[in-house]
């Protein structure tokens, strides 16, 4: 039955009565869904089940693993690797806040102030997506190099003294410190913040700003009471799109950090691909997944935009 869904279509005049449905058409949606859904079930959902079973197995690579309902693996993993978990949350959180602070003016600029430059700026935001992010992340090694201009400037401005005191950097270097990792994470996920922000800002009617101005609101008040609240959907989806991948990332911590900046992604990668301790790795990635699901649910509930998901 090929009915057009009325809830999601743009507002229309009452539609003429449809032709009587053909029996044959009833199965059309299922045939359309079947191949794609099968793919997701077999290669996305089923693997998660396999991983759950792996996490409660014991054994060794030589003798093979068996399901023994050994939940102790979870406690051991947490006890051994809680610093890496904590670090993942802290670094990803810091990167998310930085992305919001840096990305908002850029999104605002594109939405309201760019004029005929809008398309060009958009291209420059999107184009890095098509360039290898690994190459660009490696470029930060050059930018933040010891004794390089950036580190020199930070030193002259006594920024490094402050960050050293806060424990973000150590001595005269930025590379291999938390600051470098957070800088890389912020950089890599910034477009994921800017694009949703831009989409929600662009929907705001410019006349609302004029109205606020006519009512003697200062620009900062207009922003606080009109623009920002109306951009909340963008803020929520932007922060989620930044935080979730950043908390699981291990590339930045590996390329720009040191052994003291390892995140949980690094541990999962090492356990899986080098140490080949599959149960621990599976347990770790399950804890990460559960932690993120809980945090995201709480966050969405708190920010009151449940219709988003």
């Amino acid at each position: 039955m090929a009915t057009v869904t009325e809830a999601e279509a743009p507002p229309l005049a009452p539609q003429p009565a449809k032709k009587p449905p053909k029996k044959r058409g009833r199965l059309v949606p299922y045939w359309l869904l079947l191949p794609g859904l099968l793919w997701l079930i077999v290669f996305f959902a089923l693997p998660l089940v396999y991983q759950a079973s792996t996490s409660i197995q014991t054994g060794s690579l030589e003798d093979g693993f068996k399901v023994t309902w050994h939940f102790q693996t979870y406690w051991d993993a947490l006890a051994d690797y809680w610093p890496q978990f904590l670090r993942s949350v802290l670094y990803a959180g810091a990167a998310t806040i930085l992305c919001l602070v840096l990305g908002y003016p850029l999104a605002y600029l594109i939405a309201f102030r760019a004029g005929r430059w809008r398309n060009l700026i958009m291209i420059l935001v999107i184009a890095p997506f098509f360039t290898s992010f690994l190459i660009r992340t490696l470029a930060w090694k050059t930018i933040l190099a010891d004794g390089g201009p950036v580190v020199g400037a930070l030193n002259t401005l006594h920024v490094l003294d402050v960050t050293n005191w806060l424990g973000f950097t150590a001595g005269d270097r930025v590379l291999a410190t938390p600051l470098a990792v957070v800088c890389g994470l912020t950089y890599n996920f910034l477009p994921f913040m800017v694009l949703p922000l831009y989409t929600s800002l662009e929907r705001i009617d410019g006349r609302l700003h004029e109205a606020a101005g006519d009512l003697y609101a200062r620009p900062i008040t207009t922003f606080r009471k009109v623009t920002f609240p109306l951009s909340m959907p963008g803020v929520v989806s932007g922060t989620l799109l930044t935080f979730i991948p950043a908390s699981g990332d291990y590339v930045n911590a590996d390329l720009l950090g040191s052994t003291d900046t390892r995140m949980v992604g690094n541990v999962i990668q090492t356990q899986f691909l080098r140490i080949l301790d599959y149960p621990t790795a599976a347990a770790l990635s399950f804890i990460l997944m559960a932690a993120i699901l809980i945090m995201v649910t709480l966050y969405i509930r708190k920010s009151g935009t449940e219709d988003l998901v």
Partner: protein, 266 residues
């Protein structure tokens, strides 16, 4: 005082441009260092201007092989994910059926899952099945994680389509196939193209999921990753610069075509 006022008025613009600079700084560095002649294995320090790497971009063993492998995988993954994703998107927007909510969640979840988790669980599946890791496992993984993004992009476009256009076609005695090919598909095309472009970029650039499921097969991102430990050849910067330029030109060309079409309509 005049300066302070000017600064205040343009604060947003200045902030936005600074962020844009932050976003593009690595691209500038990559471009500049593609003209470097490094001493030793690592290309992190400026030594001397040279166009050697540009004249011989494939001069590094295995690099261009990994590049063409990545391109092949990206093309097939784009085709697969776009076809499957477009079908799902049409089913979700155009039909009411049971379990629609469940299907929506299943589509959403891969986008809300950290990549390591997906990568690791997929590897457990392949290990359990005893699958040979390589081209096929990479392709399967890429189609899996591109699918949701295609569905989202196509869905957005199909949702904003006016169903009266299709009804009009049917009133003019177009059959279902004719209506679909000559009305529905052309209107949905920009959404499908956006989804395909996104899928291509995601697949071509993916490292985390590929690293887990590639076995000993080396894609371009994996080559870059390996070279970060062994020593990065200048040619990597050449490829990075070329990719950036091609992307910019491609999008610019698309925009020019789009503008011209709009003007013709007006």
């Amino acid at each position: 005082m005049a300066f302070v006022n000017w600064f205040k008025r343009h604060l947003v613009v200045i902030g936005g441009l600074l962020t844009l600079g932050y976003l593009l700084l690595p691209n500038i560095v990559v471009t500049v260092f593609s003209f470097n002649k490094p001493k030793g294995r690592f290309n992190y320090e400026w030594q001397q201007f040279s166009t050697d790497a540009w004249r011989d971009p494939c001069g590094v063993a295995d690099m261009c092989g990994s590049l063409s492998l990545s391109l092949q995988i990206a093309v097939w993954a784009t085709i697969g994910a776009t076809i499957l994703g477009t079908m799902i998107a049409f089913a979700l927007v155009r039909y009411r059926f049971r379990a629609r909510g469940a299907v929506n969640s299943l589509i959403f979840l891969p986008m809300a899952m950290p990549e390591v988790v997906m990568a690791a669980s997929l590897l457990t599946l392949f290990l359990n099945m005893g699958a040979q890791l390589g081209f096929w496992t990479i392709l399967i993984a890429h189609i899996m994680f591109c699918l949701s993004f295609v569905v989202t992009a196509v869905k957005a476009r199909v949702m904003s389509m006016d169903p009266r256009l299709e009804q009009a076609a049917q009133d003019l005695y177009a059959g279902p196939a004719q209506t679909f090919l000559r009305v529905t598909l052309p209107i949905a095309a920009p959404g499908i193209a956006a989804g395909a472009l996104l899928a291509f970029a995601l697949s071509f650039d993916d490292f985390i999921i590929t690293n887990f499921n590639a076995g000993s097969t080396v894609t371009f991102p994996m080559f870059v990753w390996g070279s970060a430990q062994r020593g990065t050849p200048v040619q990597i910067n050449v490829i990075g610069t070329a990719m950036f330029l091609i992307a910019v030109l491609f999008v610019l060309a698309g925009m020019v075509v789009g503008n011209r079409r709009n003007r013709q309509k007006a």
